[in-house]
Subunit: 226 residues, 2 copies
């Protein structure tokens, strides 16, 4: 979802800017804040995966990270309502231009579902706002395991009564795909050159073991005959 289907960085920058103008805040580098926020994501999940934290939803992890970042961006004075509003920006991310049409085409031929570390309410709100036409919403929260734990990939196959090789994980992140492949799933890599912004330099290289490499969801639909 984050990066593959929706443009988290551009969306946080747009929403942060609008929020700052509404609230008359001083100029904030929302790109830097988005990057720092996202950089806290894997370490926060690692604390849950290791057992240091009990099961904790992404909304709560996002909020912990945000609270820790606000002083650095001169936003320590933000009250509870504003912090909550800002945190829920992750519920309101905009899809990449090809996502809705590509998913709609894929849905005609396949069951399409999320498997995101985002919590169910986040994924539901995002899908409803953006018009993402999921058949099912699966989340790390469904399994109380964060990706790349195999319980997530195998959990989806189990809920759908499919063998792992009948399920394809689609992502713009190779670590996610490697873990899915290790669990026996098929994999599709969707290139998102702008996920980390104009200077982001993501790894877009072809790689052994990827079943499909696609430029976007329209290309993926085409390659999968949908």
């Amino acid at each position: 979802m984050f990066g593959t289907v929706v443009d988290w960085r551009g969306s946080i920058i747009r929403q942060g800017g609008a929020f700052g103008r509404e609230r008359g805040l001083h100029v904030v580098d929302w790109g830097a804040l988005a990057d720092a926020w996202r950089a806290g994501y894997q370490p926060a999940m690692a604390r849950v995966r290791s057992g240091e934290l009990p099961w904790t939803k992404i909304d709560a992890l996002h909020r912990m990270i945000l609270d820790s970042l606000l002083p650095r961006f001169g936003l320590s004075d933000l009250g509870e309502a504003d912090r909550d509003h800002l945190n829920k920006a992750w519920h309101r991310l905009d899809p990449w231009p090809d996502s809705v049409e590509g998913l709609t085409r894929l849905k005609r031929r396949y069951v399409i579902a999320t498997l995101s570390n985002g919590n169910v309410s986040l994924l539901t709100a995002m899908a409803k706002r953006a018009g993402l036409p999921w058949d099912c919403i699966f989340s790390a929260e469904t399994f109380h395991h964060y990706k790349p734990d195999p319980e997530t990939y195998l959990g989806v196959a189990g809920l759908l009564d499919l063998g792992p090789s009948q399920v394809m994980m689609v992502a713009s992140h190779k670590d996610d795909l490697r873990a899915a492949s290790s669990a026996g799933l098929r994999t599709a890599f969707v290139r998102r050159p702008l996920e980390f912004g104009p200077g982001g330099n993501p790894d877009l290289a072809p790689e052994e073991g990827l079943d499909v490499i696609a430029q976007d969801f329209l290309d993926l639909a085409r390659q999968l005959g949908a």
Copy 2:
């Protein structure tokens, strides 16, 4: 779902009849078979709820019941593929005529989700075939508890980050609604006079404690301003 959104009895009769004609079976009373099959549903779930059986999906419970019924209907000779096909009839139930339009209207204003004892793959296949426009598919399987266990109703509220009173359970069965109400949810009773067939005589009476009583999903949408 079963009875509220889809017409399980009519669908089983239609599919059974078509299956029998295809296979050249002797005449089977598919209405009686559907009724007996459905009558085995609550007792089978009770065995899971009591701990006598470990967690078992409805597909497997349906199959246990079907296998036990086949001799009574002269169908002992059915092979594995036919038994599986017949069992999956529960994945292919037809909606009542108002369901898709009513749900589509409700979806514009509300998050709409299943909370059924049917397993996830069953609910997904049914939604896809029938065009049921769920935002989310929740199942007893999501929580490893069958309704009317409170873990199911409260589990949905928790996944959606809502208080119980912000969630409305919609059903044609009062026992489901009573349990939802006890867990703090709001309730809407949808009358389905033909759920159990022309001679079914279901309890359609108004009752204290139901928040909404609707004739069908179009009436429900109207009453809820959608």
